[in-house]
């Protein structure tokens, strides 16, 4: 399993980098799909099958398709993006380094606190349990999520509607 983890991690990071670095947005999108698949793999490693499936459905199925459509719609599948100025790139690299440093440093500082993993044996992530938790404890947020999706749908429709410019 360790090997699987390392391979998946390599794929995740690599495709994420490729997503960012490819000039063509279509390529980016495809790399991102790969990345998402690898993350779903991670979920499987955690035995979180439900999440893995949902993740593939939502991200790779819905979101990425939506993006690809948009890219196609806008005819962006060419490498015409101008590079940012050197200063901005430099700033981006600095920000990367800074965030990485800060987060890692925080973690390393906190590491002594982390205890080892102990199995309790209790079921906490089967679909049955999740369903119970979701529809009992988190009933209200769940419903709100549906409202949110509805609203976002209406919003998306309204926003992308062609405006009628007044004569």
């Amino acid at each position: 399993m360790l090997t699987v983890f390392y391979i998946l991690s390599a794929i995740t990071l690599g495709t994420a980098f490729l997503t960012i670095l490819s000039k063509n947005p279509i390529h980016s999108a495809i790399y991102l799909v790969l990345c998402f698949f690898s993350i779903a793999g991670h979920y499987l490693l955690f035995n979180a099958q439900f999440l893995a499936i949902v993740h593939i459905i939502v991200y790779s199925g819905a979101i990425m398709i939506l993006m690809l459509f948009t890219i196609m719609l806008m005819n962006l599948n060419k490498e015409d993006e101008q590079n940012k100025s050197v200063l901005t790139r430099f700033a981006a690299v600095i920000a990367l380094g800074l965030v990485a440093f800060v987060l890692l440093a925080t973690f390393i500082k906190a590491q002594p606190v982390i205890e080892g993993y102990q199995v309790s044996g209790q079921d906490y992530q089967s679909i049955k349990v999740l369903g119970k938790v979701l529809l009992n404890e988190y009933m209200v947020p769940f419903e709100f999520a549906s409202v949110l999706l509805l609203v976002s749908m209406i919003g998306a429709v309204l926003l992308s509607k062609k405006e009628h410019i007044n004569s």
Partner: protein, 627 residues
């Protein structure tokens, strides 16, 4: 009964003031004047009755009305005290006051604001009575400032002329400088004695239970003396008095010669027990008095304005009185105050009579020969001049001689200064007399036609005062002094009695010879040589310095007034601007921060994100790492 009478004494002039202020305009002719005179005469009558009562019973009359002020460690009441000293003072204040009111009826009858004049004059008498009658220092301070106010009002009586107004203002402000000293003195006495009552302070001192170090008393005495300097026109606060001659002549006679300016002497005499404890202050008083006397006399030598000469002579005489006070001879100072009040009031009124005849001309260079037309004025003037010059048997001789004698015993240099001042006095007084009354008339023909003797209301006070100037010395003859005995209860330390020996007679002789020298010089110069002082531009050398009063006014202007104005300009143009600039600067800073800060919002999302990342990093660092 006593309370009512005392209140009548106090309030009669005040009622006169009220009537003249509110109804004076409607009163016709001389009525305001008569009213004012009656008011003061009433006070005089009451004073007389009290005077007789107290001089026989020897018990002072105390009147306590009501509580006035409350301070941490004591209370101040509105209370009055009629003892030997205050009654003596009241006698000549109200007495001479009555005469001068009478004189003013005629002198001021042409003035459109005659009712105001009498109102102010009555108010002055009221405040003067308050000053004298008060039984504690704060009541005295009411009167003290009140007479200053009246002096201000009366000097600036002809308010259309801004020179007069300036003189009035100057008098008030210079007095106030002294008043500040007075106030500080009161404060210190309040700390030390927990009371401002004369009797309490005196008892405290005489019981010898004083715990405070004596330097406190010395400082208090010095501060009070500064107050006296202001009111009684001593160096360095004397310059207002000559300027105060801008007021009508009766005012000069009453306020600036006979009564108000002697308030300083009254105060020091009143607190003689206090000053006795401060010999170093007494020394200062004596020196200041002597120097003032000399300087004022030397300036008087060369003045041409008839009233200015008299003013400097007043300053000089006041200096002599302070010399006496400084030497601890309070009775003698009081004696000189009284005789001086007689002859100086007479001199001023006489000069007023002259000015009246000359239609407002005050320059002696344009007078002369008035002896023939103004006989009464001349004779009374002559008597007073002889008195001030210190010739026996006139009153001035006795008082001045006693001062000099005391000085000779205690402090010889001061005696020399005083004697020189006396010789100068004789000179300039006779110079005044000769220039005004002798030789030929030097004014215009127009004036000459109108020359006349003044009416009876003017000459009557002159005659009375001249008689008093002639015989006033009788109240304290050398060796047999009624005054000394009378004042004995209020003077704590009796000055040692001068035995009339050879030295004393010799000193008298010296004084008389000195007076004759002065007179002789004046005679030689103004009668023999018939010289008349030249025009202002012709005066040169030291005489010019004297003529310009040692440039003291100019020095004060340059040293005090100008710097204050300069400071004012500096405050106005620099500090105010700087402070308000700083405040506005804060507002501008906010403005600038806003305009500059908004350019940070440059619309570049990349920049925002970068800032965002930085912000997150710093928050994480702050929360988790920076411990």
């Amino acid at each position: 009964m006593e309370t009512n009478l005392a209140l009548l004494l106090l309030l009669a002039p005040f009622i006169g003031f009220l009537i003249n202020v509110f109804a004076g305009k409607k009163l016709s002719g001389n009525l305001p004047g008569i009213l004012g005179t009656v008011a003061v005469a009433t006070s005089f009558a009451v004073t007389l009755s009290f005077f007789l009562q107290v001089s026989s019973s020897k018990e002072p009359v105390m009147i306590d009305l009501f509580e006035w002020m409350q301070l941490r460690n004591f209370k101040v009441n509105i209370a009055f005290q009629l003892d030997q000293l205050s009654l003596l003072w009241l006698m000549f204040v109200t007495g001479i006051g009555t005469l001068i009111h009478m004189y003013s009826i005629s002198y001021m009858h042409d003035d459109e604001n005659v009712h105001k004049f009498f109102a102010y004059l009555n108010l002055f008498v009221f405040f003067m009575i308050t000053l004298v009658m008060g039984s504690n220092l704060l009541i005295m301070f009411i009167g003290w400032e009140g007479v200053g106010l009246c002096s201000y009002l009366l000097i600036g009586f002809w308010y259309k002329n801004h020179d007069y107004n300036d003189a009035a203002k100057k008098a008030f402000i210079m007095n106030r400088i002294g008043d500040l000293g007075f106030l500080i003195g009161i404060f210190i006495l309040g700390f030390i004695f927990n009371s401002l009552d004369y009797t309490v302070i005196r008892t405290a001192i005489e019981s010898g239970k004083l715990l405070q170090p004596s330097w406190g008393i010395s400082i208090a005495a010095l501060c009070l003396f500064i107050g006296a300097c202001g009111k009684s026109a001593q160096i360095p606060l004397y310059t207002w008095l000559p300027d105060a001659m801008a007021g009508p002549t009766p005012v000069s006679a009453l306020i600036h010669a006979a009564t108000m300016v002697t308030a300083g002497i009254f105060m020091i005499t009143r607190l003689n027990f206090l000053f006795d404890l401060a010999p170093e202050v007494q020394n200062i008083i004596a020196i200041v008095g002597a120097v003032t006397s000399l300087i004022a006399a030397s300036i008087g030598l060369i003045q041409n304005d008839i009233k200015k000469v008299l003013a400097y002579s007043t300053v000089s005489q006041l200096g002599l009185m302070f010399l006496a006070l400084g030497l601890g001879a309070y009775q003698i100072a009081v004696f000189h105050v009284i005789t001086h009040a007689f002859f100086k009031a007479c001199l001023f009124l006489g000069s007023g009579s002259v000015i009246h005849a000359m239609h407002g001309e005050q320059d002696m260079r344009y007078m002369g020969g008035l002896r023939k037309v103004m006989k009464v004025t001349f004779i009374t003037f002559l008597i007073s001049t002889l008195a001030i010059s210190g010739l026996p048997p006139f009153s001035g001789f006795f008082s001045k001689d006693e001062i000099l004698m005391t000085a000779f015993h205690d402090n010889k240099p001061l005696w020399v200064i005083g004697s020189v001042a006396s010789i100068m006095t004789a000179f300039y007084m006779f110079r005044l007399l000769y220039l005004t009354f002798y030789k030929d008339f030097r004014g215009t023909e127009e004036q000459k036609k109108h020359l006349h003797e003044s009416p009876g209301l003017i000459t009557f006070p002159l005659i009375v005062l001249a008689i008093l100037a002639l015989v006033g010395g009788a109240i304290s003859l050398p060796g047999n002094s009624w005054l000394n005995e009378y004042l004995a209860p209020v003077i704590a330390k009796q000055s040692e009695h001068h035995h009339m020996g050879t030295t004393e007679y010799m000193l008298m002789g010296v004084a008389i010879i000195g007076a004759f020298i002065g007179i002789g010089l004046a005679y030689a110069k103004y009668i023999k040589q018939s010289s008349v002082p030249g025009q202002d531009s012709e005066i040169t050398g030291f005489a010019k310095v004297l003529y310009n009063k040692f440039y003291v006014d100019e020095i004060y202007t340059a040293l005090i007034v100008k710097p204050i104005y300069a400071l004012g300009s500096f405050f106005k143009n620099a500090i105010e601007v700087a402070i308000s600039g700083f405040i506005f600067g804060l507002g501008k800073l906010a403005n600038v921060l806003g305009t500059e800060g908004k350019t940070l919002q440059n619309g570049s999302i990349g920049f925002y994100l970068f800032a965002f990342v930085l912000g997150i990093c710093s928050i994480i660092v702050y929360i988790f790492l920076a411990k």
